[in-house]
Symmetry: C3
Amino acid sequence: MTQDLVSALFGDPFAVVNTTGLVAFALVGSAKAIREEFDLFGVVVVGLATAFVGGVTRDLLVNRVPLALQSPVEIGLGLLGVGLAVVLSLRLRAPDEHTLIVVSDAVGLGAFATTGAIVASDVGTSAFGVVAIATVNAVGGGAFADILLDRSPFILFDDFYASCAVLGGCSYWLVAGAGVIDGGAALACATVTVAVRLVAVTRDWQVPTVGDLRNTDE
Amino acid sequence: MTQDLVSALFGDPFAVVNTTGLVAFALVGSAKAIREEFDLFGVVVVGLATAFVGGVTRDLLVNRVPLALQSPVEIGLGLLGVGLAVVLSLRLRAPDEHTLIVVSDAVGLGAFATTGAIVASDVGTSAFGVVAIATVNAVGGGAFADILLDRSPFILFDDFYASCAVLGGCSYWLVAGAGVIDGGAALACATVTVAVRLVAVTRDWQVPTVGDLRNTDE
Amino acid sequence: MTQDLVSALFGDPFAVVNTTGLVAFALVGSAKAIREEFDLFGVVVVGLATAFVGGVTRDLLVNRVPLALQSPVEIGLGLLGVGLAVVLSLRLRAPDEHTLIVVSDAVGLGAFATTGAIVASDVGTSAFGVVAIATVNAVGGGAFADILLDRSPFILFDDFYASCAVLGGCSYWLVAGAGVIDGGAALACATVTVAVRLVAVTRDWQVPTVGDLRNTDE
């Protein structure tokens, strides 16, 4: 039983990044809800929503009963992330800005973009569908959490975040098209998403606005 | 025909609570939209959304065409609730705070949590799935209405409301597991949800925030 | 290939209105995001959401994998609308208020309401289902875009907009019930929606609020 659990959580490289991502996403979401002074029920909901809404949306789009409702292990990981956020928030002001969490969040972004791309190409969507579902899987949870917190999804006007998943989804599609090796597309998607995200955080990249373009024009 | 309708609305105890709940939920939602000075179209949409979005989300999660789109009777009950809200709002300032409506709303919460739990266990989700779908079915409409009204869902930071449905969902799962009698799980879920809600309203229970925990710590 | 594309876009009257609608909806949505100073990623997301979320919601409600994820041509039209909004916003303050765009938007409203009504009656929903899905298909994208922009959907308190789709959906159902000629219901739905919308814009129609009714009462 314990052995099964260990193998489900860390049995292969993909399980490791997925496990890391679920905990990190739940932690980041709950920490935001704690700062908004939501009650504990709200903190749990926002944390689990951040971790799972991306995958649930993906499953709805491809017409499957969401996996998150069927797997107790994944929910346990989400609750672990929520618990960590609560404990850390009693000591730190913003546990979600700690370097370890920022890196884990980038790993989660890569894991979720990859799962999305794999599921989308399994059901035979267009290239746009692969990129769109990879992106929704990766950032849907965070965007939905922001709507629950009554603000615009941060991914739409701030930071270089969702764009990493878009680039990861495009890599998946290009490598899958080239058809080199089994698993090559998934590896490319995860690597590109995580690498671009880490560079974007380090160098503080921003996506330009139309206002920026207008100023360049002058 | 009239007889069929009467039996659909009040034929068994469950039909009675479901009927009460639909009217009460639609009334509560419309009253909120009226206070925000939405136009009549908006009032109808927010009222119907409060009554039906929980059930529609449940149906989407288990991959069914939503029942609400197939049953004219249920829509009629929703519109009745909206009509009552409009008529009462011409006379009262907050018809949704009347004791009769608060009690009906608690009855609706119990009815919808129970429907959610039944549907979830029919499709074979995990224990978490049963509790999650019961809760979404019960509070999804109210939460979505708050998003339409451009505020955070009240269930996330205020009041002891969604927690009643969580406890109801847990009861369902425990009693179903014990497997005593047919219908026992449904009865337990509805009773626990309604009873806890009524106690919570009377005693003004609140779920604590992490800030409360921090203060206790000191 | 070019010939196929031309025929997909303009091959029959319905394709022409659908093409016009997709471009207009994407343009209107992106222009709103540009005014809120979203970054370019956010502008693309809000534009595509405005054009496609109505149809995706329709497909989810009737349990289909969304067409938008399978058709590269439709996405191309959405991106064309986004591109137009960006280019026009460098010159004009509010390209979405230009008469040409307002008329195209009305045409899109009619096209999307009609598609929704056709799909709903194909899967055999109730009369309410036909009207509800026609309306969601027509206005769901704009409403979702407003939620992304952190405001209440404008259709709920302002303007005579969604009501046009409701009237169109009712016409569809009435004409389909009468069963006169093939395609008559679709034609009625599209014509009624577009005509009512153009009259509503010209005469500045508003749906009354309960406050208005209360004042009339006195």
